[in-house]
């Protein structure tokens, strides 16, 4: 196992733990996106490039976008300039 592989596997574990433990959902999803991107590199290292393509397109692209849109639908994304209403903050 090369140093590169070990580094990438460590990054995977760190990403998965950070996804679970992070407080805001928005950041969790971005970390999850990073996880999927690194996972596609891992698939390429394991000599299955077809899975790498699918993981990069579905895992990092479409799944995260659907997560973002869902967050927006349930109004869980805080915008930069406008704070959400008081009762919305409490429900989170």
């Amino acid at each position: 196992m090369t140093v590169f592989t070990i580094l990438i596997l460590g990054f995977l574990i760190a990403c998965s733990v950070a996804t679970c433990l992070h407080r805001t959902l928005f950041t969790s999803i971005i970390i999850f996106m990073a996880y999927s991107t690194v996972m596609s590199v891992v698939w390429a290292i394991l000599e299955s490039p077809d899975l790498a393509i699918t993981e990069a397109a579905v895992g990092a692209g479409i799944t995260s976008i659907l997560f973002f849109v869902t967050l927006k639908k349930i109004q869980a994304v805080e915008t930069m300039d406008k704070e959400p209403e008081g009762n919305e903050q409490e429900t989170k």
Binding site: P49, I53, T54, A57, I62, I65, V69
Partner: protein, 322 residues
Amino acid sequence: MSRKRSDYRSTFYSRIENFVNGREEFLLYRPTGRTEAEKLESLEAELTEAADLLDKREEQQRIQDHTEPRDFLKRFHKLYGVVATLVCLTMMMLLMITVSWLPRFGNASNPANNEVIKRYIEKGQEETGAVNIVTGLILNYRGFDTMGETHVLFVAASCVMILLLIAEGKEKVSRYANDRQLEPKNDIIVQKVAGFLVPAVFMFGIYVILNGHLSPGGGFSGGSVIGAGLIMYVSAFGFKKTERFFNEHVYKIAKISALCFYICCLSYYFYMGAHGYDNHIPLGTPGNIISSGLILFINIFVGTEVACTMYAFYALFRKGGL
């Protein structure tokens, strides 16, 4: 059976009767349509509504003032964390123990290395004509499995449609307007970057689909790449520009025809295989683009289907329709 109406005085026939009896001028007189009783009723309804609202607010205040449930919630959250950690650790331990019992990866005497794998690897290219053994395996040897997976995807798309599809009308328009409120419209950076990237993404997706039997990839991967490109285009330029080339009409035609042709191709395989007939479709020379029989066409149809489904998911989530 006739019944007595309490509001007879406000009806059309009572006015005709009054006109006949000479009590009022029919053509000039326009009653407001609401009698005293109705007015009273609506007033009462409003009052009860207001009272209900007040009750609700008082109750909410009581719940907020009450400290006991909050303590209970805090205790519950603490317990929840402890129990969740315990469950996770137990699960991890079980999985680790199971992994330690598994045979060594890549061992020649593993139960997975049987005559099936041997047949696939040795005769796969010869029998299916596909250089990419994985595609030949998925779409030819295990075509029935793949059909089931396609059905799963179709059912998922139907469920999302049942949940999120909004009928034509005012609500759709307002929902769409609400959705676009929060984001910057026509961001120039996103548009420029998308202008460079989207054609490349489309080209890559088409390449992956068309070379599914020669190089890594296939219908599903290429279709999802094209779907991601479509989503990127929509988020950069908005739905109005996308609808010039990809609207509900195109979606329906593309999706339904792709599904039908896909089922036709697979039915041919199933029929010929089940009856023991020879496959009459020429396999061509392995390595050419047009080779490996029906696999190329199945890849194209699956790619179209997947791209449409991915885009439909996004559009349904965003504006409740295509």
